[in-house]
Symmetry: C2
Subunit: 321 residues, 2 copies
């Protein structure tokens, strides 16, 4: 349904900014660079796992928007938000959300410019972030020959969600590592700013690495080849995969809201880069996304966490029957 | 409850923009002027009268934000929105909203920079508008000696709502005039831009003239005196007042979402002003807002439409019993 709605709106929104819709953020030219702007709505019922504290909810509402600004290579300069508040919500919950938003703004050094509150049926936080940059980093700039890199590690957000949903018995240390990424992910702001001068293209991981790579390849008009064994997957993710009978690579590819940055850049620029990252593949001429596992190259499926979760349910039931 | 929530959030949001929270929009300094940013959430259940078409809903979601930009004296340069969409909404309804947003963006000449959609319990449209101006028009700039002016006419939005809610039997021409303002209000963009060079302070009428005047007086640290007989109230509003036994001046003071601009400026600048407006009063030293009716001066009550509507119900029932 979401795709249909987006299509519907695109047909009626002819007037667009200085960058077509479809990137991490929209953009307007300023005299000395670009203003980027992005918004992302968080709905408690559908977007917030029950294990998340109100403070973590508030922090994440900021992070998800700041991350989109970072993916454009921009420095976040302002945050706005609208709250839809159900009549029966506790003031304690709201205070937690407020604290979380406040902490996040201090963490990222971003001022709040405007806020609005309304009565609504469910808790809704619509966050908006503004950013500025001299050079814009888009999803369409990947060039054949570029390396494909990713910051941090991937998979922990989904592995944490699965561990929580299926009440897995994982050691406390591992749970902490997984929940850190599920509940308190951080946007890669410094990295995005550093990348803006060096990278050719970037995107943040909101919907899972596989979806983001397909977007990058499609919007840049290139082919992307990924080496499965290079993916930065931590042992805690592998452990959850083992318990649930899931391939950890699939978990890593499907894991959303990681807020790591995926970017491409010419090989010779890698030396100049002060960003800690892992090279996971290469950009080629052509189309599509491929992944090499055990010397077998195959098309990378577009994996979503819902899809994986459905499969888990079957496996899980079998395992514990 | 709204006030409590706002208080709660203010306590936790220490990092603010280059203008403190509490104006029509937030603002950031650019090299050559100001960037203003504002957001306003529309929730169907609480904000949309049943008589409004989906296209009018979409248009209004843009207008209410563009109006805040205009009140800062800024030219709107970008629009963003997030949609919360209930599962059971008709695609026809959504298409109407999309059309309305598209038409509004063309009407105001504003590009869409970013859009997001999510599942939610009720239809929610959170709109965000960005604007630019060389000189910022705030709520705190009114100076003793200034004239107080308002664009257009006031009262039709509330009179229209009352006529619809209470199924009043008003002539077609009058209903058209009332519904025009209730269902298809327009933001005063040209006027705002023109005012930015001349006026000392401005605010748009979102919550009713009386509330806006109290905000202006309070934030500017001045007293405001209004002449009731100067208020630009059309005959259609007076007619509704007569049927319902309400004072048309009260209707005009309580009528929200008019999107007219209230502004103050030095008397000698009135001649230079290309904006059609009505002088309704004067700024003085002191505090508070006063209104003179029939040579009697009294404090102006803070009137909201809910308050007036409650009173109407009684009157109305008596009239038609």
């Amino acid at each position: 349904m979401e795709k249909e709605i987006i299509e519907l709106f695109r047909r009626h929104l002819r007037l667009q900014g200085d960058l077509p819709l479809g990137d991490d953020a929209g953009a307007l030219r300023l005299r000395d660079g670009w203003l980027v702007a992005t918004n992302d709505m968080l709905v408690r019922k559908t977007d917030v796992p029950g294990v998340m504290t109100p403070e973590q909810v508030g922090f994440k509402a900021v992070t998800m928007n700041v991350s989109d600004v970072a993916a454009m290579g921009a420095r976040p300069v302002g945050f706005l938000f609208s709250l839809g508040v159900p009549r029966d919500i506790g003031m304690d919950y709201l205070e937690g959300v407020a604290k979380g938003i406040g902490k996040a703004l201090e963490h990222y050094g971003v001022p709040v410019l405007s806020a609005d509150t309304n009565e609504a049926d469910d808790l809704v936080i619509d966050g908006i972030a503004l950013g500025r940059t001299r050079r814009l980093l888009t999803r369409s700039g990947a060039r054949p020959g570029d390396l494909v890199c990713v910051t941090g590690d991937i998979g922990r957000a989904l592995a944490g969600l699965l561990a929580w949903k299926h009440e897995l018995d994982v050691p406390a240390g591992a749970r902490r590592a997984l929940y850190e990424k599920l509940l308190e992910p951080r946007a890669r702001v410094k990295e995005g700013i550093e990348l803006s001068e060096l990278a050719n293209a970037a995107i943040d991981i909101s919907d899972g690495l596989s979806k983001e790579l397909h977007l990058l390849a499609e919007m840049s008009g290139v082919r992307i080849d990924i080496e499965a064994q290079e993916l930065p997957i931590r042992d805690e993710v592998r452990a959850v995969g083992e318990i649930l009978g899931l391939n950890p690579i699939e978990i890593a590819l499907a894991s959303g809201e990681e807020f790591e940055l995926v970017f491409t850049l010419p090989e010779e620029k890698l030396r100049c880069l002060g960003v800690r990252c892992t090279v996971i593949g290469r950009v080629l001429k052509g189309t599509g996304v491929y992944i090499t596992t055990d010397e077998k190259r195959q098309e990378m499926p577009v994996l979503g966490w819902e899809h994986l979760n459905r499969r888990v349910k079957g496996t899980y039931r079998e395992m514990f029957r």
